[in-house]
């Protein structure tokens, strides 16, 4: 056989078999859990049967001989002659592993590897013989239609056990001599039934023959068959993807249901997809360039063509991204096995539940989260879930529950690993951390539970009292965290001592195209991934010189009462800066890295843009501060900053205890403290209002001129969409509406609120400040649009009930959301 074809076939075989073996593992586990159906046993058998048959044809003798032994055992299991007990399932799983390893070796090294499987084979044979002594006289095959059965068990048995394992099977070697008619018996592997004597003889003869024709009493039969055959040659040359027509009969419905995904799909080489994605990336870049250029022309036909190009490119990009999406269930598939093995080893009882298997994410991410997830799952069973006895003592059911949950949220994928085990004792964690000198006693005292839990992500932390086979080997949660952060994700841990632990992972949908903020420093442009971005601060006038202080030579800025370490991008990257001293403003980009925040000072903040991430060349890979490069709309290259790398390079995030502004603030609000970050503004004269900053999507300033009218409402065009506007003062009881400060200016300030992809703009008058305050809320019952009032900065301030106001202005805003969920 042509060598390329052979190679291709082997590759196909490996892929097909690996898929099959994964199913094999799942079916085995279903069998063990008593969740087997009539088809389960047959499926298990068939998978190995197929592997064996195909490997034989491809000349893969090791795989063939091993799968042959397994098949023999499985025949007995399928036919009900042997019962699949736990130790047999364990052996069969090991058997599956061995096959998978050989497949992997085949795929990576082009051979089956040199692992010796005699022990495994012996074990399989032992299982086979252990009970075949009690083999019933007649074998029944439950799944197959019963055809009149001649007593042939004898022959069957002989043939089954006799197949020599070293039989040389080679696809290239011509086994049958040139003249087939001479040598029918020993060497042939086919036959026509008519060559053979009737009934009993056939079977004994068949053992030696490798083929037969049922009907070859002479030339006449075959020719007869041909004569009567209509002439139609199949004219179409159908390609591998098989068209399937479903017949909707009841009996079929079940078996076809679980195949439905496979049937409507085709296999595509991953490299094709990568190439396609790359091309789409290029297309998006050229699109950006064209859009930028075209905006200089007044040609309306050109403009509209450009608009179309814009839209189509966006849709194409989304479409191609979708083809690269895979359900997270692909990774989860192996977890039932992991859970089984780990819980068996630790004598724990664990039930694994999975919710949201179909949640899609990019295949590169699927690969990247595989190991971290496995580690967390193992950890959860090892450290989280207690032994059945402990659980019973604590009044829990003996069986622990491990829940994997995945769902999309705001352009990200959330994955949660929830166990109902013993939870984490924050004191124990702190003690351990102090012991390992990760934190000081003093820090431990001050630390809240949430921060304590976060300690498990510190390098060199492991609470397992003894190192088990499974976890506590030092490659711990810090590696998990690093790996997840590497793909732009985050890990968070929550735990209720005695009740269980939840680990929450957030990862982006894709890495190839990301939203980024473009900044300029020393006339060079840089892209900052938006996931790292917290806020932008601009210092004007006097503040330029006053607001930035120095502590131990480190520049810091007081942001809402917290110190924010500052990094000058131009100094950090050692790029020249001509006009260092005559700055009339300072732009601080507040970024978060590794749970801490810092300010990056840049010359100019340009815009946000969707950028296509291009990896850096090998020679530049080592640079800590850069994550990649992208091509801008004008054709120039901009480097993408690696925020974490940059922060480490600048030494702003190396210390453990010195978490800065945002984490503390976040911690506090999450921990239920009553400190809130509020946006302060005025509507009408001196009517002080506040709303929680967490509800604010963006703050915008619009020219009054751009307000348009749609029906009765005011709207503006905003980011390619129509943004309805709501005048807050019309919805709250404001004392003096007349001379409201907004009426006099040419611009208005708008708070953009978004929910479920819908946005609305609240016209708020003058924005005063953003404050972080402990609020003592006095509830007022009579005021519409307000949720109460509090004293903020020594003034009575009404708290705006944003949702109520929106609901008043647009009753459909929230309702529609409910409908879309139902």
């Amino acid at each position: 056989m042509n060598e390329d074809i052979q190679k291709q076939l082997v590759q196909d075989f490996v892929e097909e078999s690996l898929e099959g073996l994964e199913r094999f593992d799942q079916e085995l586990l279903a069998l063990e859990n008593g969740a087997s159906t009539g088809e389960t046993l047959n499926n298990i058998f068939r998978i190995i049967h197929t592997v064996k048959g195909t490997s034989g044809c491809l000349g893969l003798t090791k795989i063939e001989s091993l799968s042959h032994v397994g098949e023999n055992l499985l025949v007995k299991v399928r036919d009900g002659e042997l019962e699949a007990h736990q130790s047999m399932i364990t052996t069969l799983l090991t058997f599956s592993d061995a096959l998978q390893n050989m497949m992997a070796s085949l795929s990576n090294h082009g051979n089956e590897g040199d692992t010796d499987h005699t022990g495994l084979k012996a074990e399989l044979e032992r299982l086979l013989s252990a009970e075949s002594a009690t083999e019933p006289a007649k074998s029944v095959q439950p799944q197959e239609p019963t055809i009149q059965e001649k007593p042939q068990e004898q022959d069957e048995k002989v043939s089954e056990s006799k197949v020599p394992e070293d039989e040389s099977i080679s696809t290239t070697a011509a086994k049958a001599p040139d003249n087939p008619d001479d040598t029918k018996a020993q060497e042939q592997c086919w036959g026509l039934y008519d060559d053979e004597p009737e009934a009993e003889d056939t079977s004994s003869k068949a053992q030696e023959q490798r083929w037969g024709i049922f009907d070859e009493s002479g030339e006449s039969d075959t020719s007869k068959a041909i004569e009567s055959e209509p002439q139609s040659q199949p004219s179409e040359n159908s390609e591998p993807p098989i068209s399937t027509i479903k017949k909707e009969t009841d009996s079929e419905a079940k078996t076809q249901e679980n195949k439905s995904v496979a049937e409507g799909s085709i296999r595509v080489d991953v490299n094709h997809l990568d190439r396609l994605m790359n091309l789409v990336g290029e297309l998006v870049l050229s699109r950006n360039q064209i859009v930028q250029r075209v905006s200089n022309y007044e040609d309306s036909a050109l403009q509209s063509a450009c608009q179309r190009l814009n839209l189509i490119a966006t849709e194409l990009q989304e479409g191609v991204m979708k083809t690269r999406m895979q359900p997270i269930g692909n990774v989860w598939q192996k977890f039932p096995r992991v859970v089984r093995d780990v819980s068996l080893e630790l004598s724990k009882k664990v039930r694994l539940d999975m919710v949201g298997k179909e949640t899609d994410l990019d295949r590169t991410l699927i690969e990247a989260i595989k190991d971290p997830l496995t580690h967390i799952v193992r950890n959860a069973i090892d450290h989280g879930i207690e032994t059945p006895a402990e659980r019973a003592n604590n009044g829990k059911s003996e069986e622990g529950i491990l829940l994997l949950r995945a769902y999309h949220e705001g352009g990200q994928v959330n994955i949660e690993i929830i166990d109902d085990g013993k939870g984490i004792d924050p004191e124990k964690i702190k003690l351990k951390a102090v012991e390992k000198a990760l934190i000081s006693h003093e820090e431990a005292g001050r630390m809240n539970d949430r921060d304590a839990f976060a300690l498990v992500f510190q390098p060199g932390f492991s609470t397992a009292p003894k190192v088990t086979n499974l976890s506590g080997r030092g490659v711990g949660m810090d590696v998990v965290k690093t790996n997840i952060e590497k793909i732009g994700g985050s890990v968070d841990i929550q735990s209720e001592f005695g009740q269980g632990t939840t680990i929450k992972i957030k990862i982006p949908l894709t890495l190839a195209i990301i939203p980024a903020l473009i900044v300029t420093s020393a006339s060079e442009r840089f892209a900052i991934p938006q996931v790292s971005l917290l806020e932008l601060v601009r210092l004007d006038g006097d503040d330029v010189n006053k607001a930035i202080e120095f502590i131990d030579g480190t520049p810091v800025y007081r942001l809402r009462g917290n110190l924010l370490p500052l990094v000058y991008l131009n100094k950090e990257l050692k790029i020249d800066h001509e006009n260092e001293n005559d700055l009339d403003c300072v732009n601080i980009v507040v970024l978060k890295a590794d749970g801490r925040s810092f300010g990056l000072i840049v010359d100019e903040i340009n815009d946000t843009e969707e950028i296509v991430v291009k990896p850096l060349a090998k020679q530049l890979k080592g640079l800590q501060a850069f994550a990649g490069a992208t091509i801008m709309g004008d054709g120039h290259v901009a480097l993408i900053l690696d925020v974490l790398g940059l922060a480490q390079h600048a030494h702003v995030i190396t210390e453990v205890g010195s978490k800065s502004a945002f984490d503390n603030q976040e911690d506090r609000s999450n921990a239920g403290d009553d400190k809130h970050t509020m946006l302060l503004f005025e509507a009408g004269d001196n009517h002080r209002l506040a709303l929680p900053l967490s509800l604010v999507d963006r703050l915008e300033e619009f020219d009054k001129e751009i307000i348009e009218h749609s029906g009765e409402s005011e709207v503006v065009q905003y980011r390619g969409q129509i943004l309805p506007l709501i005048r807050v003062q019309n919805y709250v009881n404001t004392f003096s509406n007349e001379n409201s400060s907004t009426a006099n200016d040419d611009t208005m300030q708008v708070v953009v609120y978004s929910e479920n992809g819908r946005s609305v703009g609240l016209i708020v008058g003058n924005i005063k400040d953003i404050v972080e305050e402990s609020l003592e809320v006095k509830h007022l019952t009579s005021s519409r649009g307000l949720s109460g009032s509090a004293v903020i900065q020594d003034h009575v301030t009404d708290l705006l009930d944003v949702r109520d106001i929106i609901a008043q202005a647009d009753p459909d805003f929230f309702i529609e959301k409910n409908e879309s969920i139902v």
Binding site: L9, C57, P180, L192, I226, E229
Partner: protein
């Protein structure tokens, strides 16, 4: 037509037959094959035995019920451990059998025998 739930096996048969100048249709199980052949004629069917949905023996039996498939040669692919299947194949109306694993020459030999 080659019928097998294992696509590699299918490709292998298809490749061998194509190399001998035949056009080859593929089906992934008995039901698929039956659906494709209900309104279509082929010169030869090579089918695996153990398949989901409809096995090769059932397929053979069903195909023989179709008027235009009465005389079409049907070869069943079996393994050594399925000797019994050979008998079932005969009673279902198959023309001949091939033992897996097979090599290309053997396949072409038997195909040559049953085709004109």
């Amino acid at each position: 037509m080659t019928v097998d739930d294992a696509s590699t096996m299918r490709q292998m048969v298809a490749f061998t037959l194509k190399s001998a100048g035949h056009d080859v249709l593929q089906a992934q199980d008995g039901r698929d094959a039956l659906n494709q052949l209900t309104n279509r004629q082929v010169d030869l069917v090579i089918t695996d035995v153990n398949m989901p949905n409809m096995n090769g023996i059932e397929l053979t039996r069903e195909l023989r019920k179709l008027p235009h498939m009465q005389r079409t040669p049907i070869l069943i692919l079996t393994t050594e451990s399925e000797q019994k299947r050979k008998m079932e194949g005969r009673s279902a109306g198959a023309t001949g059998w091939i033992v897996k694993p097979f090599d290309q020459q053997s396949l072409l030999q038997v195909v040559g025998k049953v085709l004109p």
